[in-house]
Symmetry: C2
Subunit: 134 residues, 2 copies
DNA sequence: GTTTGTGCAAATATTTTGCACTTGA
DNA sequence: TCAAGTGCAAAATATTTGCACAAAC
């Protein structure tokens, strides 16, 4: 009657993805993560990259956002608290900006209109100092 | 030497799309707009729906946003001023909420981090009073 | 009559899924 | 052992594009 010890397994692929995410501070697409891992000689499939990222997002280990172009971009969270991102649309570099102000504002607006079960989406895209200069 | 009067042409299809958008207050997908027009007996192609919506967005005649599911949703703007939306994820109904607070906040954060050429994305998804009750 | 719009079919892009095989605990 | 993870190929989804034809001005 032992519980089957269900849980996440420590695989080579998962470790490689986490390691890559840890050494970058940019939002990356699944494809670009896949490409880099392949270039680094890791054997991994694109499907696995997608599935692992999905799991990491569900576990709140990484942040996702959709780029204006419609791609999902992933990055490791720096803070535990809820926050938003200021993302460079050219290089993907991002600053985390705290969100209490917007939070309060959104909650108030929602209450006013009788909305429930909110899920916010606030991402500010722009050009970072470096990319904006070029 | 007359200028070729370049501009948007008043076509049957364009009129049908605008009429539909005028008589609804929900965010609609291109596909659902297409389906309804077809059901109403209008001859129109999905491609045309996409292309027309694109043009209307460019002309700032309609608002677009991406649903959490990754679809583009379209609705006619009610106000000229910049604003955000509180969108029901079930029925697509939406309230427009003014954005000066968030605007100021975003601009400040951007300035602080040296970002330029901003484009905000703030949409709050939730369940409207009706859908939340059911 | 010329330019812009239309619509089909095909292409693209991103992400997901079926399924047989591998691997970690 | 054996449930969980992997990866290929194929499917699914949403949107765009090439091109011949039609419609607007």
């Amino acid at each position: 009657m032992n519980a089957p010890a269900s849980g996440v397994r420590a695989t080579r692929q998962r470790a490689a993805i986490l390691a890559l995410l840890d050494r970058t501070d940019r939002f990356r697409s699944a494809q670009s993560i896949f490409d880099e891992l392949r270039a680094d000689g890791h054997g991994i499939g694109l499907t696995t990259v997608y599935r692992t990222l999905q799991a990491l997002v569900a576990g709140e280990v990484v942040d996702v956002l959709r780029s204006p172009a419609g791609e999902s971009l992933y990055r490791r969270c720096e803070t535990e608290e809820q926050h938003h991102h200021l993302v460079c649309r050219r290089c993907g570099i991002a600053a985390e900006i705290p969100g209490p102000v917007v939070e309060a504002w959104a909650r108030e607006a929602a209450a006013h209109h009788g909305f429930s079960e909110l899920s916010r989406t606030l991402e500010v895209f722009g050009l970072c100092r470096l990319c904006g200069t070029r």
